[in-house]
């Protein structure tokens, strides 16, 4: 019998310089492994590939803005998920909640676009998006409270209902046309007004404001306190006199409503149309964002930025070098792998047989 070669030992809270160091090493290692992959598999010069990747986001001012636009979509949904996740209510229905909010917006634009003045129209669009998203969040919460259904499955299934609704509605709205196209092309009714030259700048502003509000809500408000207690233990919540059902339902309405609002931003501020791809998988990617950030809205901004940077970079590499999309995805996947893997070395250290400490 021999002493094991490696033993894993949990660290007590790592000091901040250590955390930074571990992450820096992770990124460097990721770039080295990526370089090997690029050199040996594609035969390209790793450094020029990295420059192209960097240019995917930072190539020019417009690209920075586009990256920001995509980042706030992720961030906005992440923010919506934060209160639900903090309550340990695994809402994986953001995709559908965003879509149904977007659909409500689109319907109001199409059928009330010419009836109301702009301010009233926007109030209607926002309200309908929030209500639609809120209802999409509320339904699973009611079922869980009344009959103890599993919220993960339930919210997931709600996605498909939202997708089918959207699909049916767009078919109806487009009539004889081959595709829906931009809504209200002539009147531009319900199009988000341009701020600093772009309509989607409003999205950026709104989401960053939401980020601050959500941080305050979760950290300092009584509601936030209740959410934390319910998430930690329902028994503790009962003991403290918290009405668990009420908190669960209220929180899911909020979570769904913010998703709905993001749907509104996407339809009015970004696409000016609706399709089953409006949420575009962001509702699922945002789950990763919320989790990695441990439900802290500010960290979410960083994670969303990183993910956007990687996907923009991958797309740029693929188009510049006429590479297969998958090859570019491997590159960004390796980076993500190292960054996530570094968490392990922040929480644990390895002890080798001869008492060599590493980490």
């Amino acid at each position: 019998m021999k002493e094991p070669l490696i033993r894993i030992v949990k660290r007590d809270m790592s000091p901040i310089p250590h955390k930074i160091l571990v992450r820096a090493i992770a990124i460097i290692l990721a770039l080295v492994v990526d370089a090997l992959f690029i050199y040996f598999v594609t035969g390209l010069n790793p450094f020029s590939v990295y420059v192209v990747m960097f240019n995917g986001t930072f190539g020019n001012q417009m690209r920075i803005l586009w990256a920001l636009r995509d980042m706030v979509t992720l961030l906005g949904i992440g923010i919506a998920l934060a209160p639900a996740f903090k309550m340990k209510f695994w809402n994986i229905g953001a995709e559908g909640q965003v879509l149904i909010g977007g659909l409500a917006t689109a319907l109001v634009m199409t059928y009330c676009g010419n009836t109301f003045s702009t301010p009233v129209l926007f109030i209607l669009m926002v309200a309908s998006a929030i209500i639609a998203g809120g209802v999409w969040g509320l339904i699973p919460a009611i079922f869980k409270s009344k009959w103890g259904t599993n919220e993960t499955l339930f919210t997931l299934m709600m996605n498909y209902i939202a997708i089918s609704f959207t699909s049916a509605a767009t078919n109806y709205m487009r009539g004889q046309a081959s595709s829906l196209g931009k809504l209200n092309m002539g009147t531009k009714a319900g199009w988000m007004p341009k701020v600093f030259g772009q309509a989607f700048n409003v999205n950026i502003i709104v989401v960053f404001a939401l980020m601050v509000v959500m941080f305050i809500y979760l950290t300092y408000s009584k509601h936030g306190y209740e959410i934390t207690v319910v998430g930690e233990s329902e028994n503790t919540a009962l003991y403290a006199g918290i009405n668990v059902t009420k908190v669960r339902i209220r929180t899911m309405i909020i979570s769904g409503a913010i998703c709905g609002l993001v749907g509104f931003l996407l339809v009015s501020g970004r696409d000016q149309t609706i399709s089953t791809n409006t949420a575009g998988g962001n509702g699922f990617t945002a789950i990763i964002v919320a989790w990695l950030a441990k439900f802290n809205p500010f960290y979410m901004a960083l994670i969303a930025a990183l993910l956007t940077f990687l996907s923009k970079g991958a797309a740029e590499i693929a188009s510049t070098y006429a590479l297969n999309d998958f090859a570019a995805d491997i590159l960004t996947g390796i980076i993500l792998f190292f960054i996530l893997g570094s968490e392990f070395f922040i929480n644990y250290k390895l002890i080798f047989r001869h008492k060599e400490v590493r980490g």
Binding site: M1, Y220, K222, T228, E232, S233, T236, Y239, A240, K355
Partner: protein, 514 residues
């Protein structure tokens, strides 16, 4: 008697916590050794390294004079070391034989054959005097039967060294006697038994030798015949400790809570509490005795508004003098009880799962019951901090900071935070479930003192406890629960441990309050 197991300079750390520091300890053949120490002194960690759960950071272990590396419980069994853990590791839906056969090693015992396993297990039972039905399912077994099964399981695997982690914690005095009898049988058969414990009386009764750990370090060992309760305490604590509970006579007692025909069933409809009636009075400490799981939890939770009760149950609260200002607590939620102005403090058994929020610091936990006071949308963070600081000082809570998540604190400190908060709420009725479980002797006595102070202030104190010695010394009256019924209401000053123990295991007809 040779040194069968030698532990040399063994150190084990978890993060910054040093669980064992340079421990050197010998275990002889055929002896009963008590490993004595406060909670958190590293007794279980040390034994876990013998049984293959943990691996030491440094140091060496010798068995029979040869250095060994024990990397798994299987390695431990091959060396003849077996451990019965505090939390039993049995499969509920299997019967006794099937549990014994679990992890059967065909290399050592030949081909798998349940009948043969049963025959050998029965042989072991006969040899040492165990009382075990081999065909009984684990979920039908009492705690003491489960423990017996665990010990037989370990013996079956050929253990010559048995480590028992807090074996008497869950047993009645009668069951403890039975356990001690078989331990003595094992000893006379040449086996070594190591008992991890912090109960001094049992140490003196059963063991040949006592080894003492304090804060992870080996303090020394002493032959039991040369030891006394106070000398052992002194070694354990490193200082002299007064082990006295000052019990005053109750004055001015008034009925605060009157429980009538309280019944509770679990989800399957099994009766947990069956028609219980008794009174809780101000200015006295009412002890609740019973084997754990006999309805104590449901009883306290019913009073606190956390438990669904059967129709016909009644829990009346009297705010004023004897029998005045009556309020029915059945049907009220904790919030309604609080809003009705009833100061009901409750230290539940499940500290982190009910009494506290593990991810929050002391400060956040202080406001668990008061967070929603005031009209503001945000919570008041100042007052809880002040209160947390006060409790930290008063009870000596060891924590890096007030905002360190309480789940990172040691069990004793967690309990101090909880008890501290409940006492600070200025209660009329104070209910505690196993208030000193996991606390060191000093802190336990601090808690007893605090409870006595509350009693003298006129608070109605309910103390659910597991150590009968303490119940007899601390309480004024004792309600004994057995199988969800009240099997006796005793005057704590005029009863014996044996009487309480007997009532804990046998129900003999309806008991009426005087």
């Amino acid at each position: 008697m040779g040194n069968a197991i030698e532990i040399k300079n063994v150190t084990k750390t978890f993060g910054k916590t040093i669980a064992n520091k340079n421990v050197t300890l010998n275990i002889h053949e055929g002896e009963i050794l008590s490993l004595l120490g406060e909670n958190g002194s590293g007794k279980t960690t040390l034994m876990n390294m013998l049984s293959g759960i943990y691996f030491p950071d440094s140091g060496a272990i010798f068995v029979g004079g040869k250095q060994v590396e024990i990397r798994s419980p299987k390695d431990a069994y091959e060396l003849g070391i077996g451990m019965v853990h505090q939390h039993f590791k049995l499969v509920d839906v299997f019967n006794a034989v099937e549990n014994i056969a679990l992890g059967f090693d065909t290399k050592r015992f030949g081909s798998f054959n349940l009948k043969r396993v049963k025959a050998r297990a029965e042989e072991i039972c006969k040899k040492y005097g165990f009382d075990l039905n081999m065909d009984q399912k684990v979920y039908e077994m009492s705690v003491s039967q489960k423990q017996t099964l665990e010990i037989v399981k370990v013996l079956y695997r050929g253990a010559d060294f048995l480590i028992l982690d807090e074996p008497t914690a869950v047993l009645t005095p009668q069951e403890t006697e039975k356990l001690f009898a078989v331990i003595r049988n094992m000893k006379s058969d040449g086996k070594s038994v190591i008992i991890i414990t912090h109960k001094l009386k049992e140490v003196l009764e059963i063991s040949d030798r006592v080894a003492i750990l304090r804060k992870g370090e080996f303090v020394g060992d002493i032959a039991t015949k040369d030891a006394t309760e106070s000398s052992l305490t002194e070694m354990m604590m490193g200082e002299k400790v007064e082990l006295n509970i000052e019990r005053s006579l109750p004055v001015n007692t008034m009925t605060r809570i009157e429980i009538n025909n309280l019944s509770v069933t679990d989800r399957e409809g099994v009766k947990i509490l069956d028609n219980i009636s008794f009174k809780i009075k101000s200015g006295e400490i009412l002890g609740i005795a019973g084997i754990s799981g006999n309805g104590q939890k449901e009883l306290l939770e019913s009073i606190a508004g956390l438990q669904k009760t059967k129709p016909g149950s009644s829990i009346k609260f009297f705010a004023g003098n004897e029998g005045e200002q009556e309020m029915q607590l059945i049907g009220m939620t904790p919030r309604m009880i609080r809003d009705a102005g009833i100061h009901l403090a409750f230290v539940p058994e499940d500290r982190l799962g009910m009494g506290l929020v593990g991810s929050m610091g002391m400060d956040g936990n202080m406001m668990l019951k008061t967070y929603d006071s005031g009209r503001s949308f945000v919570t008041d963070r100042k007052l809880p901090r002040i209160q947390a600081e006060r409790i930290r000082k008063r009870l000596g809570v060891v924590t890096p900071s007030l905002s360190t998540p309480v789940s990172r604190l040691s069990g004793g400190n967690v309990q101090k935070v909880l008890v501290g908060r409940e006492l600070a709420s200025n209660p009329t009725v104070l209910m505690t479930a196993y208030a000193v479980r996991g606390l060191d002797i000093n802190t336990s006595y601090t808690i007893y003192k605090l409870l006595n102070e509350e009693k003298q202030k006129g608070v109605a104190v309910v103390y659910v406890g597991e150590e009968l010695d303490v119940l007899l010394e601390l309480c004024d009256r004792i309600v004994v629960l057995c199988g969800g019924k009240v099997s006796g209401i005793l005057d704590a000053r005029n009863t014996t441990k044996e009487e309480v123990g007997l009532l804990m295991t046998s129900y003999r007809g309806e008991v009426q309050e005087q």
